[in-house]
Symmetry: D2
Subunit: 428 residues, 4 copies
């Protein structure tokens, strides 16, 4: 669970004294917040102790801004793996800068942080309403991406040289840390560059953020694979459909996919350890009773069952053992040893899921995230991300956001609903 | 806007003394709530005045229940127009009653409240895990539906005669009032029948409930029509695509559809009046500038522009003038008078949208709503609905839920985002 | 039925003496044909009479061509209503001209034949591989369209002035006649302009052509509406789903949609007259027996039941009475008079269907049609269309193609299969 | 290529003397045929030599039938891997037997040929209009399937004991040979059992049959994977999307998928050998020029490049080396050796594709195939399949159908269109 008193203080580059060029929208006041907790007892505890209960600043357009729009130059960069909705966010940022604030010079850095380092030779794209026309209907990122960090000094040199005032970074954990390092270096040099992050994690594992863009599309897109695996499992004797879904450390996709595809019989996630013997036993029991089974496994589940590799990928993430292949082989072996015919079909739809265009809801969500990131940046706020909490769009310090990872709580309502839907034992 | 101190007190049939047959799930305590407000100032005001800030009871399984499962008989009824997800809810109720509590006798009343009145001759269906297999993948309601209310006495007679302990009603505003009347009559007679509502309104217009099932699917399904209207508009000289969407009194579908399909140039909703002259002027201006336009109108928008009919449909709702046909004709007339060629294509996708199966997210949502309705009913709670507020599933008295209608706030963030996305003037 | 001895002779601008720039493809010889008939008896009759059985010339790349690619300028025009696949054809033509033949100057005339008449002021677009990138994934026509014919002299003036060598027209019956008139005027003036048509009729009503592009997508896209109408019909007491599909004079879409959506109970097409009384009687009988019914009606069906309007649209087509609205009102009236509750939902998905992008199969089909049109044009063939017959791509004189309309044969296998699938009486 | 004079003679159990119970359909005469060839020269050669040009018998209902419907019992069996449309065919057979002929007893044998062998203990299902309701909207086979053959004597014993008059087998090459063996044994024993095959091969590799059911759905379903692979390839530096599609010996799916998804840059099929060095060279050239590439490989392509395993699966098919994994590894190795960054994403969508429900067109096609199989069986025809040739539904002897495999002709129009669309060299 999140800790009880996180730091929600947002930093800024300085006072906002320039009137917003648009005047007929409902502005958000700087004193508007949403309470972090919704439990009266906790709030009363804070008040009784003479402390302010933790609150998050509401996102939205402000009446006074920091940057002079006509002089402003902005940059956007997309890092890490692709995720549904990236192009929606890019487009929204460009349109909001242009039509809401009149900012005309927006640059798209290509291939992630590499695009901020001149020696890679990736020329930035000029982004205009025309050049982003229709891109929200296409998966992936028109800016392309790369994994891994780059030298912070070199990146800030580029921003400084290009006179970038707002840098919007779209990326995951590592990217947010990189954005934070950039914001720190900017501060150290006394530059006027706001760094705003839009968290991109298809796994939905950012703390203090209810949901990240792309997650809902991912859950939606699991339907094809789970349908197929179910059809395959029921179309053969003792059929087993095994589907590996995304979720390195957090099983939200697997859990919600299980609720959204209630044919699933077993859902395995990183947060809930299991033994191989225990799982194989209940699987065998189900097969002998019903003749087929549908298993969903998050890619980070059951890591403790495999030998560790300790390798890391280009983003610095620990390379996980492939639990899908592992389970596929163990299940086959198990039934072979038992002398029982068993027909397993294994599906790994990760690339197909993450390259889809955003669903309707994610499209709307990305539109709003892009607008709120621009509004925040225009006020000179920096080192923060935009997110959503208890139904409100909010500002959150990057350091707080990356201080821990959001996970499925084994004792919470989500996992309870999964257990109830699958009927799988709480312990296996 | 919702009022500041609504009544969230839930009624019950009596004390719960029977232990839940399932024991290894995380139970919800009766003291667990979510604060209605998330604004510290308002909460402090309550506390300073020595009052309890308004809170909603959390939904979920309880350790002690009211009904003895082995003796319990339950009923489900679906009323009003169809909506994506009804079958998901029915299935979830049946599965939760059977597998979580061991309740075996569940009846589906056919054709809405008519099914509770013997003289219509609609025999109730016995609902079992087998008979609800796969129904969540089909649109509509396997129980079918009807509009309008029936005699409360006759309905309670039926429930009493059939020894129904929990009645779950799936329906909108009118249905909820009917459910309330049943609960009142049950109380008057001193019967032991819990009445639990699951609000079904594709318009998402129930107050104190963040979102109702089917709404997200509806927004998703608007994409086809809006895409088509846009293609038609851009494929002809001075093309206008006009799409009428659902929304009798609340423009949530139209507003979210506009955010999810950001090609929309004008969004007209019941909450924001406009003049015909004003609208035609900005439309003409856009056409002369860009050569095409995409207009979304909620069915309840612009009612003041048409002569009222005062007629009511079978559910007792005021029959609205058809604003889609009205605008189609007025726009054509306007350009004809101007002597300007204009090609308008009008699309009304309402039936297609509401008959779709639930989206992935709505499917998961319906699964949870069904489970929470059962959990609430098992404790003898009555006259209440299950809903969601600030990310938590909650109980809400029906009377509070139907006390006012939820609408898009013209000064709120949603409408601001719509204006920002369309670029339409705030006043026309 | 088609007549037994149609004229399949193709005209040309002159001898082909220029070698094809591409040499390693399997060329088609000018003597390669496909027999029009596949019935031995008919062929033997021709041979016995000392006559050549009618044959169609095979389409495909030729070893020798008429135009010098480096000097060639081509034009494309799209006329009439939109249809899935138009953009696929445009793209295919541009890519084949560029990559197969090295033709660099391709112009897209805008807004149909208007684009060939200077006083409308529609500047032609320069079409390049870059400008057609991704257009096949979008519905409609990037060139936009208009209905109606224009002055042939003015159009040929434009082609002559722009030095167009090949004009590719994408359109229906009227467009093909227009293309024919252009080809005739070109011949009269002794110009070197090849006019090649690609028939665009979503109704699939061109004789001597097995299938036209967009038709299969249209049948595919009927599924949503028919599904919805079925769900609505089964979700209410005595529910009737009524869906009007395209088909002005030929019921192919309605017939195939009935086979592809076998829940349909009644299929009404222009080729098979029915009486209102007869239809209402069998509908009522079905409703009383099953409680619901699904009716598909082609827009041109039952015209004889309505008063004729004799009006014509901009393309010169007779304005049909709206049989969907007519049937909707008559059915409602009928049951009202009978005093029987009946719930009818009427869906008219025409705009939604025709604006969709091409299905996979139509996409491949359009790619081929575009290539074959280019191959034909490069040899100086003119006044012809490309089509498909008995599984082969062929050339067909426009005059032969428009000499009659293809219709569903009431005594043929297709209508027999429809009757068998619906169980509707052959006569009503 | 098919040989010039195949044997199209159909066998039968005896004379047809029973009038068809349905009388108002257009019956097909036994003398109605479609010519195998459509090339006049070949036909003239036959006639000049005093021989009959080869012709296929038209499928369809006959006026006189062999079996007495009221006494008839029929069986259906589905074998081998699943394929879109199987359930459509099952449903069509059941509905046609019941509603067209009045046959009430139809049995579904479970798990392929195993279901005909009592010791497996698979009880046959009674198939009725009710039990097949809605199954056409579900992928897979409600009868489930198994691979491999069974003892012909045991199977005929079962048919004889159950008094089956018509056995309809839905399966591929191996299944058809099994059906043939059953028909032979039936003849040897002098039984009155008609064996009718409906060819099920998603690869579309049956000779003398233009297209098999499921093939078009498969091509349609390739779109998701090819879209994803393209998005992944363009979203990273030097991105390569590699998609393995079905096609053990015939590359039709890969070839049509290439035409239907014209972003494909390389299409590799079993019929066109290539060298690894040649392919890697052109791939590298493309990557260096464009920065990304999309590669489609049929599972049977490039087998000669891998060491043979000689293993066979349960159906007796040679186990192919996994060319997808092979190419993935070789490509990675190649670029690693070159020291060039390259990001390859590999997708194998086979299970997802084959488990989908039938597309609209395949649904209609399956409906017709089921009806024609029943019509053929009712006349006592046996040892034959139903198929389609030159736009007509036909009867074909199983022995002729399995006498060779249909393949993509490297010198034909399909491969030419693929080369033209991809721009890949004819030889690599």
């Amino acid at each position: 669970m999140e800790k009880d008193n996180p730091d929600f203080t947002i930093s800024g580059l300085g006072d906002c004294s320039i009137p917003s060029p648009v005047t007929d929208v409902p502005f958000i006041g700087d004193d508007e917040h949403v309470l972090y907790q919704s439990d009266l007892k906790k709030i009363r505890d804070f008040l009784d102790a003479g402390k302010e209960p933790p609150r998050m600043e509401l996102a939205g357009p402000r009446a006074k801004i920091f940057f002079e729009p006509s002089e402003l130059r902005c940059g956007i960069v997309t890092c890490g793996g692709i995720c549904p909705g990236i192009n929606d966010v890019i487009r929204s940022v460009v349109l909001c800068l242009r039509y809401h604030y009149g900012v005309e010079r927006v640059f798209g850095f290509r291939f992630g942080f590499e695009g901020l380092v001149p020696r890679y030779g990736h020329e930035p794209l000029a982004l205009t309403p025309d050049s982003v026309k229709g891109i929200h209907q296409i998966g992936g990122s028109i800016l392309a991406s790369s994994r891994g960090s780059q030298d912070v000094g070199e990146m800030v040199d580029t921003l400084d040289r290009m006179k970038i005032g707002i840098l919007i970074t779209i990326g995951g954990d590592g990217t947010l840390r990189g954005a934070c390092a950039i914001a720190d270096e900017v501060k150290r040099r006394g530059l006027r560059i706001a760094v705003i992050g839009i968290p991109k994690t298809i796994d939905n594992d950012i703390s203090y953020v209810y949901e990240t863009f792309g997650f809902e599309t991912a859950v939606t897109e699991t339907r094809t694979s789970l349908y197929s695996a179910h059809v395959e499992a029921t179309g053969a004797r003792n059929g087993v459909g095994l589907v590996k879904l995304m979720g390195r450390h957090s099983g939200f996709i697997a859990a919600y996919a299980t609720l959204a595809n209630s044919e699933v019989n077993f859902c395995l996630i990183p947060e809930v350890p299991f033994t191989l013997a225990g799982f194989l036993e209940v699987l065998e029991e189900r097969i002998s009773r019903k003749g087929h089974a549908l298993v969903v496994v998050a890619e980070g589940a059951g890591q403790e069952l495999m030998e560790e590799t300790h390798a890391r990928d280009a983003s610095g993430n620990v390379r996980l053992g492939d639990v899908g292949i592992f389970l596929r082989d163990r299940i086959r072996e198990h039934f072979r040893e038992r002398g029982t015919e068993m027909n397993l079909k294994y599906i790994d739809p990760s690339y197909t899921i993450r390259s889809m265009p955003a669903s309707a809801r994610d499209s709307a969500f990305c539109l709003l995230l892009g607008q709120y990131a621009v509004h925040a940046g225009m006020t000179g706020r920096t080192g923060m991300i935009v997110g959503v909490w208890r139904g409100e769009f909010i500002h959150l310090p990057i350091l707080t956001a990356v201080s821990r990872r959001k996970q499925v709580r084994p004792g919470g309502w989500l996992w309870a609903a999964v257990l109830s839907s699958t009927g799988q034992p709480a312990k296996m």
